[in-house]
């Protein structure tokens, strides 16, 4: 499954540690929410970055105390029809100011990229190679957005006002 990070196909530096297996002595690891919450301080003290896979059925509030020390949060799309992680992503980015890697994992397909980018994701475990290769092109598909969101783009409502102001300033 190719990883797209910051717009490009990248190598996944995280070791995906299944529950109950021993962790490597150092280097970045990705653990489940249950494993992380079992011993958060111990894991965060370890040499190497820590990422957590957070299920979409659990409030992100439980993760908030650790956000500034986490290198990655992976939010889950069990199927692409299940959109709970979009809310989680926006909360993490826009309410709790999380600025580490925010990864979309699960059934991640091309046609969700724009929504995900707008919700604050910057890394994607993409299901299909062709979709990963089309990432850049897909991300540029839209140039107009009707809502303000965490990506900071102006909504059309506000853009019109701004354009009107700059028009009158230029006269």
């Amino acid at each position: 499954m190719p990883l797209v990070k910051n717009g490009h196909i990248a190598t996944d530096i995280f070791f995906h540690a299944a529950d109950g297996t021993e962790l490597p002595g150092d280097g970045p690891v990705l653990v489940s929410a249950a494993r992380f919450l079992g011993d958060p301080e111990g894991l965060l003290k370890r040499a190497g970055k820590v990422g957590v896979i957070w299920p979409n059925s659990r409030d992100v509030d439980d993760l908030v105390p650790y956000l500034d020390r986490l290198a990655m949060v992976a939010l889950v799309f069990p199927t692409f029809r299940d959109g709970r992680a979009y809310s989680q992503a926006r909360l993490l980015r826009e309410r709790y100011g999380y600025d580490g890697e925010l990864r979309a994992t699960g059934q991640v397909l091309r046609d969700q990229f724009v929504f995900m980018l707008r919700a604050g994701f910057d890394a994607f475990d993409v299901r299909k190679q062709a979709d990963a290769e089309a990432f850049g092109e897909t991300a540029r598909r839209y140039t107009v957005f009707y809502q303000p969101a965490g990506d900071g783009r102006l909504s059309a409502l506000n853009r019109r006002i701004q354009e009107r102001h700059s028009e009158s300033a230029g006269q």
Partner: protein, 551 residues
Amino acid sequence: MYAYDELDRTLVNERVSEFRDQVKRRLSGELTEDEFKILRLQNGVYLQLHAYMFRVAIPYGALSSKQLRALARVARRYDRGYGHFTTRQNIQFNWIKLAELPDALEDLAEVGIHAMQTSGNNMRNVTSDQWAGVAPGEIEDPRIWSEILRQHTTLHPEFSFLPRKFKIAITASEHDRAAIKIHDIGLKLIKNADGETGFEVLVGGGLGRTPFIAKTIKPFVHGRDLLSYVEAILRVYNQYGRRDNIYKARIKILVHELGIEKFAKEVEEEWQLLRDSALTLDPAVVEDIRSRFSYPAYEKLPHMPDELKRAAHDPLFERWRRNSAFPHKVQGYSIVTISLKPVGAPPGDATADQMDALADLADRYSFGEIRVGHEQNLALPHVAKRDLPALWKALDRIGLATPNVNLVSDIIACPGLDYCSLANARSIPIAQELTRRFANHDTANLIGRLHINISGCINACGHHHVGHIGILGVEKNGEEFYQITIGGRADENAQMGTLIGPAVPYAEVADVIEDIVEAYLALRDSEGELFVDTVKRLGVEPFKERVYATR
């Protein structure tokens, strides 16, 4: 009418090009049917019994003549020469070819029409009063707010994969023509003590297999907070709405399971954290949207022009005028409802030729505007009264002057088993038969206002629960049966109808309805007592007796 600007046009064009790419990937096999299904639904494309069905959005029911002509062209070029107007102010085409869909969308995009989110588990077409902006006594034109919501809900980055579909309706009149109490969010535009615009917000209404009337979640949300408050409701729903069972996934179930107080508290907490954000509507933003609505330059006209006095001698004209022309907020003008329920025809259908002809009439007599109502009729919102006689003659020539608006043959019906893959039973032939039974105008007029609603299955697209008489198709041992309810209503006093007894077979439905209507005529305390009021006064028993005594 709202006029698209460059931003609106760009977004719609970008969407069409994305969908063209998605169709291409489906046809090449790159996308599986399971993956493509959601994408096509988000663009209004269903797979029905015989073909793909294409549902096009008519936001808050407002169309320009140019747009109506474009719909006629789509009907002619890509379909079988007709379209079907729905209870959510959309239009459906029933015989579209998948490979041609992107072209149809492109043709529509040229006139500022799209099909985004007319199906799928996202925020659907925002609906409103078809008399918005012209109804006497309206507090304020709700289309401004409808358009703001249309934009905000389109391709929303957080709420495009909700547990289930989500419908918002707005009214700004005391008399609710938008059926806001049977929507996921119902908005009633009101003014506070300081004269500021805001909304009473209702939540959790809906029909289907578990019908609920919406409850008030907040008595006043200021206009500037409309988007943040709606966003708070959606965020709670997106996270906590059930996804384990499609039949329990609508927000009405969440509201019911949590209770309105608990749900309101969750929303309030979320809203307090959201309200001071980029979602707050600056007055300049609202004004900007308002400024892109054009209003007709009405003339100063007499209340009773000579043309109308002369035409009053023609009983056929008078019959139509009394039935189909309604008071307008401007003196000398009328709102004219165009019945799409001629005797013997499927409710809500219009041919491409009728659409073209009506577009011409709208240009001539209604400042180029047409409206679509949830009753599956059309309206010309600004007709000078002096033009009514000429308009009537022209409508009659194209089969659009049936004087049965709000009468027993003005039936709301879903497509049913003739088209729909979900249906258990046919709806259209039942409606057709009933229009034949009640074809006599004098009889229908004597009966007075009576809404019959027919759904071909429990999904309730024909809103049978809230029909004065509701007819629901069910299947029993492979045969079509129909449950009959009475006493429902969809207006400001919305309530569900009550079942009168066991389901009846297809062949007996029209007889049963005739029995119910005859019982009403015998039971009503005066000519002024509407069917629904008689049911309220007497309950279902006398009707039940009449129907089942001999069956």
